[in-house]
Amino acid sequence: MSADAGRFAAELAALDTTALSSYSLGVSDGDVDRALGAEHLYPRHVAALLSPAAAARLEELATVASERTLQRFGRAVRLFAPLYFSNECLSTCTYCGFAKDLDVVRLTLTPDEAEAEARLLADRGFRHLLLVSGEHRVAVSPDYLTDVVRRVAAVVPSVSVETQTWSDDTYARLVAAGAEGVVHYQETYDRTRYAEVHVAGWKRDFDRRLASTERAADAGIRRLGIGALLGLAGDWRADVLAVAAHASYLCRTYWRTDVTVSLPRIKPCASGFQPVVPVDDASYVQALCALRLAAPDAGIVLSTREPAALRDGLVRIAVTHMSAGSSTEPGGYSHPGESQEQFAISDERSPAEVAAMLTAAGYDPVWKDSFPLLPPTQARVDNRGTEVKRRAQASAF
């Protein structure tokens, strides 16, 4: 463990998710009963919910998860869109379509272009945007990133950022620019496997990445997104256990902070990467049920990586946040097909179609669920020391 390992790193080491995963393979029906009946779940409970014994009772698991989701989140699903603004990258991750050495068309949007994409998405109804890029600290410098966040925050009330990790004052600058959320998926919590797939670049540093969510929270970021990329490591149960423990740690430590979790599964992309052990749909549903019960207050995010039928089913069970009508290439909303996408999406329905599906299923599609964190017309100083006047917000609050 390196010197800048975050505080959760020690807790993760003590947890021994591999042993818990092995334990889950032998749990009894009674263990599953106890986990289903527990008000607060301990790691052994979560392991029981991930067990083959629980898999045989998936409908029961889904019923309990569904009740918990309904009580905490109501009949409402939050919609957001990813806004990919750069696919340039200095890291080599064997599973990613943006990896440094891949021969693909590279593009970083100008701040004007990023703002134009944001306006286009706002016109489609979105009020929550997730800014996504590869890991290129020159093309996506802190100055540039702050500028993009500030521009997009003037268009929509809620902006989250999924870029590389930072160890300087960048998170604090993002907060000052109006960023509400930061998303850093650990991809896998298995150190050995992590080292195998993160071949080069900053992302290769497991501890730096793990600590970054804590640094973002320390800087005042209000929504933290974490997750694991299922299919990357051989033992999906161990990764789900780690995500649950990580969420629990963040909730305990940063009590003012919202935590969302996600378990994307590996999709086909330019890297040609094949999952070690594919996670089948039933196991996937089981994992999300366990996560819901382990972290009942955490939003669960599901992207368009997953096919429509699965997404429609999962909103009734555990999912509370969905993207819709996504493009994963920079500038892809204004000029589709001119750059390289990160991965292929599966649910190709438009935002309006997804909203209509939610309504038909008895859920309210929620586009806006936040207010701008900065005063709308206050004169402020930008990162170059110039006073700037924010434009009047399209959305007053």
Partner: protein, 286 residues
Amino acid sequence: MSVQATYADPLVIGGRSFTSRLLLGTGKFSGHAVMRDALEASGAEIVTVALRRVDLSRAGEGDILDFIDPTGFLLLPNTSGATTADEAVRLARLARAGGMPDFIKLEVTPDPRYLAPDPIETLRAAEMLIADGFIVLPYCSADPVLCRRLEEAGCATVMPLGSWIGSNKGLRTRDAVEIIIEQAGVPVVVDAGLGVPSDAAEAMEIGADAVLVNTAIAIANDPVSMARAFAMATEAGRLAYRAGRAAPRREAEASSPLTGFLGQHGLGQPSLGQHGLGQPSLGQPA
């Protein structure tokens, strides 16, 4: 025949008079149309809406406010999502600038898990908003001293929680709420946690002036019927409170007590006051 037809019993908040003592929240519904129908069925006259859900750029295009008739309801914007006093004050000011009434339901909940109200920031925000001319209805912990301080600051009501928001656990704070009711000079609205109509009836029976319900109605299989059920229970609880409940007793008691003669010929009678608090007051002081 409704209670209101029997005798006038208005709920007065911020100088406005209301017939219904059931306030409704608007979150967690499966859609705006069913929310509107539930509001209608509840007979509520005060409806609270989270400002973070309101999108003025969508007015007239299906925004939540399009489903709440401003002539039929007092629209009570709330500051849900605010984590500090400053954020709550800014939201309230934006609401007023957007043409909403001066009434504001103050919510400062820095903890996203239990949505527990921050007593310090809530009091601070209340003081700022009252100085700014707002009529403030604060969601707060069931803390008798905090409620006194909020009242002294000039709040129009106090709104102690029955249990955590959305928990449907009922009036877990009953002992504290009884003290708050005993002490309050402003209406006491039990807000949050009431899970079934009998919880609302219980709050009203012990003398709460009103209840605010959201989750229990919004996530019911039939929100419209549940709204109606809460309306009936609220009314029943109020009527029972005004009727003056008999104190519970451990053992059966003959209907002609041996000391009945004491009531005759000018002899003294034991007090029938509730919990030593005297008779329930009939209506709020204007």
